[in-house]
């Protein structure tokens, strides 16, 4: 049996970063799945990429420029219509600062 690529402790750390509260069963399942995927992607190490530039984007070069003009209208009600909880023109959340 090969060394696991990822431990339960690492899974819990990543879940915290990703804001996902996993159940103990899920943690183990996710660990096993990630382990399998990380072992699979190891095949990329067969390739020497020391001198290869990374590709982040494949579109045409350059970012188009535009005038800095407001083109939309205020639409607070439309934006807040999907809010799970609102008060007047605010999104309502639990207390953040103790």
């Amino acid at each position: 049996m090969a060394e696991p690529k990822i431990t339960l402790e690492q899974v819990r750390h990543v879940a915290r970063l990703a804001r996902l509260r996993l159940s103990p069963d899920e943690e183990e399942r996710v660990r096993a799945d990630m382990d399998e995927m990380l072992a699979y992607v190891d095949k990329l190490n067969e390739l020497d990429t020391k001198t290869v530039a990374p590709t982040a984007q494949v579109g045409e070069a350059g970012t188009p420029m535009r005038d800095d003009e407001v083109t939309n209208q205020p639409a607070a009600d439309a934006m807040l219509a999907n809010a799970p909880s609102r008060e007047r023109n605010y999104f309502k959340v639990p207390k953040i600062i103790e």
Partner: protein
């Protein structure tokens, strides 16, 4: 039920609408009737917008009555819309519990364009949650079944759109393709599915999965219909800075039927172990058809093909982990209340996302996390460069690459659900096209002995949609593969 106008192609229906031989309302009603009859068996739609569609059809009829030949080709044509597109006033779920009740206050750019052409939106089609999957089994609203065999999957992630078009619930549909999500379901359901060049079509208002790979495209019953839809979709959009400003050709004019002298490359790495012999045989026969039409075929090499899935699952999941951070229970979507904000985020996301979405968020977050970025995410991006270079080199020797779409025909429901990696491998022939940002189209090229459709993939250099469509149309015209009626 006598008329069955829903079985028409877009080109046929459009001509009849102009001549006032049929009305958009009749056409829409036939689609709605078909939906009512077929949906209990297929589950291709998450939402059927009967009321809105009927109203759009009435408006289209008014426009056709006054404008006649001036009206756009899509005026009065009922289309299915993948439930990943923001549609004003019609809920948009992305097949996720986290967006179950989300009603967008705006239209995606492509929806706006189709709307201004007078198209009729018959409903929102089923998909894998957040477009993550290859079978539409990862939907919070249950899987879509294949109209050719309801014991099998429709493919994914745009399985609902593919099944809806195959079963004549609509005349065409929109999908999205990040790693094969248009082409694989098109292949499994026996319809045409086109993923345009990255940046050809605006993604504004399309719920993001992996932004450097996502692309919008049509499903259709014929290559001509796909060309008609693409013309409306494509073109510059100030709201998507990645969208190309290149002029949009009249794609239909490219459909000359002439492929004489077209150089077709056949990558040896795509004809490997694990492919169903019937799939290989069918694609090889299609290549013979092309030769008989005057094209030439030659073996080429795309040496890094075997690394595409590994590179994809690092790049795509990393981007997904960032894109899906917005579902936090604060501004829209599901909220599960908790004692503090972080717990609220964590519990909402735990309850709102399905297993595959969580799996990909976790892998992507890990690939981007401190200490692992270089080994995983950056490595994936570098291998992406090698895959791109493979295609660039190949297109110095050929105009078009032809491959199978998938190693198999539609697989059985549940067959791959317990093994994520096996499911991922079903995209082995489509994924590299997204990594390289190229256009690719799936067209039906035959059936296996189980009467399941087989798809052939046509891949071209960036912005070669006209060549791809011309070659696809020429194959259709040859009559080498005749479409068969679905079981449902």
């Amino acid at each position: 039920m006598a008329s069955e106008l829903n079985k028409l192609t877009i080109a046929e229906a459009s001509a009849m609408l102009r001549k006032r031989e049929i009305s958009a309302l009749e056409l829409t009603r036939d689609c709605l009737e078909r939906i009512a009859a077929a949906e209990p068996k297929l589950n291709a739609f998450i939402t059927v917008s009967e009321k809105e569609a009927t109203e759009q059809a009435r408006q289209a009829d008014a426009r056709l009555a006054s404008g006649g030949d001036e009206a756009p080709l899509l005026c009065g044509i009922p289309l299915g819309i993948k439930d990943i597109y923001a549609t004003t006033g019609v809920r948009t779920t992305c097949a996720s519990r986290i967006l179950e009740n989300f009603v967008p206050p705006f239209d995606a750019t492509v929806i706006e364009r189709l709307r201004s052409d007078g198209a009729v939106f018959i409903g929102k089609t089923n998909m894998d949650e957040f477009a993550m999957g290859s079978s539409t089994e990862n939907s919070a609203f249950g899987p879509t079944l294949n109209p050719h065999d309801t014991g099998r999957v429709a493919g994914g992630s745009s399985g609902g759109s593919a099944a809806a078009v195959a079963a004549h619930e609509c005349l065409g549909a929109l999908g999205t393709d990040t790693g094969g999500s248009i082409r694989e379901p098109a292949s499994f359901c026996g319809v045409v599915g086109l993923k345009p060049t990255y940046s050809r079509v605006s993604r504004y208002g399309v719920i993001a999965y992996a932004s450097s790979l996502d692309q919008v495209g049509p499903f259709a019953k014929s290559v001509r219909d796909a060309a008609i839809i693409l013309r409306t979709l494509a073109g510059k959009d100030p709201r998507d800075s990645t969208c190309s400003a290149r002029a949009v050709p009249d794609y239909e004019r490219a459909l000359t039927g002439d492929v004489k002298g077209l150089r077709i490359g056949v990558p040896k790495e795509f004809f490997v172990e694990g492919m169903e012999p019937e799939v290989e045989k069918s694609v090889r026969a299609a290549l013979k058809t092309y030769e008989s039409l005057g094209a030439t075929t030659a073996e080429i090499s795309l040496p890094h093909t075997g690394y595409a899935i590994a590179a994809y699952y690092l790049v795509a999941t990393a981007e997904a982990s960032a894109n899906l951070a917005r579902y936090d229970g604060i501004r829209f979507g599901l909220r599960v209340d908790a004692e503090n904000n972080i717990s609220l985020n964590e519990i909402t996301r735990a309850q709102g996302f399905g297993a595959e979405v969580k799996r990909r968020i976790m892998l992507g977050t890990f690939a981007l996390s401190a200490g692992y970025y270089d080994a995983y995410y950056l490595k994936g991006q570098k291998v992406r460069t090698l895959i791109r270079n493979d295609f660039e080199r190949a297109f110095q020797k050929c105009d078009l690459i032809v491959t199978p779409v998938a190693p198999t025909t539609a697989f059985k429901l549940g067959e791959k659900m317990n093994d994520p990696l096996t499911m991922y491998l079903s995209d082995i022939f489509t994924i590299s096209v997204n990594l390289a940002g190229l256009p690719g189209m799936s067209i039906p090229c035959g059936y296996d002995s189980k009467h399941l459709p087989i798809g052939m993939q046509l891949i071209g250099p960036p912005f070669s949609e006209e060549t791809i469509l011309r070659a696809g149309d020429a194959f259709e015209r040859s009559g080498a593969s005749k479409p068969r009626a679905t079981a449902i």
